[in-house]
Amino acid sequence: MSIMVKRSLLKKSGQIKINQMAFMLIGVTIFIALVGMFALNLRLSYLKQTASESEEQNAYLLASKIANSPEFSCGEAFGEKRSNCIDLDKVMMLKEKIKEYESFWGVSGIEIRILYPTSIREEIECNLNNYPAKCNLITILPSKGFDKGTFVALCKKELKEDEIVDVCRLGKIFIRYKGEY
């Protein structure tokens, strides 16, 4: 081979090697980028699950907080101070004047359901005439759909055998966040 040909071949050899390295680096970069995107996708799906569990926890805590607020709680009206206890008489009075409390708790919906004992299968809204024996639903603030609810004791003073007794039932209070969905 002539020297000129050899020199040109050597130059091309170096250029070819540089091209090879460049393509390899591009390929490696794209591959690492794909791996990173895959890992990020996995991480985000985990974050979504965590966020969902956190929202559920917040809903439970908020329902519990409202149930224990002075407007709802039994306080010491039924003997010793109770937690997770809602005074049904208080709630029915609150329901009558709810317009003054619409934005008080920062939620868009509050509902109480009487779970036990009740023989009523369909939803019957409670009013001052039929509660609590002939109804099973107390809508404080109406809303379409609710977040999680928490169990509560629903207590009331009732007349039994000519004496006033404390009677507690099992129910659930449901809360709806404001501005969600």
């Binding site: 081979m1 071949l9 050899s13 070819i16 090697k17 090879q20 390295m21 393509f23 390899m24 390929g27 490696v28 591959f31 690492i32 791996v35 895959f38 890992a39 996995l42 991480r43 985990y46 699950q49 965590t50 569990e53 559920e56 926890q57 439970y60 805590l61 519990s64 109770r82 937690s83 997770n84 206890c85 779970l115 036990y116 004992p117 999680k148 928490t150 169990f151 509560v152 004791a153 207590c155 039994k160 007794v165 404390d166 009677v167 507690c168 039932r169 099992l170 129910g171």
Partner: protein, 186 residues
């Protein structure tokens, strides 16, 4: 002389051919290196993905919150039963201790029978358990002074590894101690 020249030329030509071959081999060596490096990168990427997958799976095992179960137990303990003693209708928490003493209600019903019936009704109304339901099963156990006072209330299956239970609820009355255990399987 001529033969020597011819031989020299042939050797020279062979030498040139071998240089060409050598050049070709050198360029192919670069390609081989590239392929080898690419394979190393692929293997490293697979290892990294496996590591990330294991890490994420470990992080998914979060502590399950028990607010709902705890609220259920606390609310159930306040439920007023049909058992009357000394002119007072007992709630579930008081009835537990009376059952521990094998006492009878004023209507001559066994306190333990009233307690078991009440708890069975309450749990079945509050938790719908079944294979196709979100709640697969539940178990309600009450122990007074280290003795199970009623047969545990069980519904559904307990094969699921996901469950929620209340922190042990302890009640004390006079010298007796009651422990309530409630576990829900998802």
């Amino acid at each position: 002389m001529k033969e020597n020249l011819i031989k020299k030329n042939k050797r020279a030509q062979d030498h040139k051919i071998s240089k060409r071959d050598f050049y070709l081999l050198s360029s192919k060596t670069g390609q081989d290196e590239m392929v080898g490096f690419g394979l190393i990168i692929i293997v490293m990427a697979v290892i990294i993905i496996a590591f990330v997958a294991v890490m994420v799976n470990n992080n998914k095992e979060n502590e399950i919150e028990n607010y709902e179960v705890n609220a259920f137990v606390q609310s159930t303990l306040q439920y007023t039963t049909i058992c009357k003693m000394n002119g007072v209708y007992l709630d579930v928490s008081d009835l537990i201790f009376e059952c521990g003493n094998n006492a009878k209600c004023e209507n001559q019903r066994e306190s333990c029978a009233v307690l078991k019936g009440t708890l069975e009704d309450i749990t079945s109304r509050s938790w719908t358990a079944g294979e196709e339901e979100y709640v697969k099963g539940y178990k309600f156990t009450i122990v007074v002074d280290s003795r199970e006072i009623i047969i545990p209330i069980i519904e559904g299956s307990f094969d699921s590894k996901n469950y929620r239970d209340n922190p042990i609820t302890e009640l004390t009355k006079k010298s007796s101690k009651a422990e309530i255990y409630f576990t829900v399987y998802y």
